[in-house]
């Protein structure tokens, strides 16, 4: 159809949806809705991953983002029971400016991101890298050190989150304001 391959069709549709949903994330008032839209965006992006033969990554993506992170968001939003009418809104002018600035940024980006055409796809063994086996190999050989260090990162995040999240009982930190 129209001389486009099926992948090209898929790419087009997915991209369109992704952008649409992303915009909805920004422009819906109700936080809950924007969370949901963001989830949808993520699904589209996952679709893109599949198009790019990054199957495993697609799965992980769904699991981590849609599964974990967004749920966390949703949870917090519920906790603070935010909804459309509690949602504060920036002044219309501010939002307009934001839009304009974003447009300009896009413009310069388009200008900046030239020159990728001559990059040629590296052939041979294509579409195999996305498989768990290959990724695992790379991750645990070449990227072993980052992998280990990432644990420290997570640990730190863990400790931090607990420390912040937990209501402390003693009030003595009140009078030592600002020290």
């Amino acid at each position: 159809m129209l001389g486009l391959t099926i992948t090209q069709w898929l790419f087009g549709i997915l991209s369109f949806m992704a952008i649409m949903f992303a915009l909805m994330v920004v422009f819906t008032r109700n936080p809950v809705n924007s969370v949901l839209y963001l989830v949808l965006t993520f699904f589209c992006i996952a679709g893109h991953y599949l198009l790019l033969n990054a199957q495993f990554l697609a799965v992980v993506h769904i699991v981590v983002y849609a599964g974990a992170i967004m749920v966390l968001f949703l949870f917090i939003i519920m906790l603070m029971n935010l909804n459309a009418d509690t949602e504060p809104r920036k002044h219309i002018a501010t939002r307009a400016i934001a839009g304009v600035v974003g447009g300009v940024l896009l413009f310069v980006m388009v200008g900046a991101l030239k020159g990728a055409e001559q990059l040629q796809m590296v052939q041979g063994g294509a579409s195999q890298i996305g498989l768990v086996k290959n990724l695992g190999k790379v991750l645990f050989s070449e990227f072993l050190f980052p992998f280990e260090i990432a644990s420290i990162l997570l640990l730190a995040a863990l400790v931090g989150a607990i420390m912040i999240g937990k209501r402390d009982t003693n009030i003595n930190s009140k009078e030592t304001i600002n020290n």
Partner: protein
């Protein structure tokens, strides 16, 4: 050409998503939404990385995405913790109301 799609398209797509995220950060007052928009930006980057890794037929790009995810998760954890704490103390997460420190 990644199975028929020029790499530029991917770059543009992720650029657009990234910028939508930026716009979100600029246009919203709700800290959580802002945070979500930042996640959106990260995902745009992820997409770009995956596209490039496929282009170069090199797995390290996708591996990097894992790290980004990990970091994102960590950030979200800490971030939401801080947000909830702020909400506890300020009874709001409206960034325009959080401006005691200035000048």
């Amino acid at each position: 050409m990644l199975n028929g799609i020029p790499i530029n398209y991917y770059i543009m797509l992720s650029a657009v998503l990234f910028i939508i995220g930026v716009i979100g950060v600029m246009a919203r007052r709700n800290a959580i939404i802002i945070f979500m928009c930042i996640e959106l930006m990260l995902n745009a980057v992820n997409l770009l990385l995956v596209a490039f890794s496929t282009l170069h037929n090199d797995a390290s790009g996708q591996v990097f995405v894992f790290f980004i995810m990990a970091v994102a998760a960590a950030e979200v954890a800490v971030g939401l913790a801080i947000l909830s704490m702020v909400y506890r103390n300020f009874k709001t997460i409206d960034i325009d109301l959080l401006s005691r420190l200035k000048n």
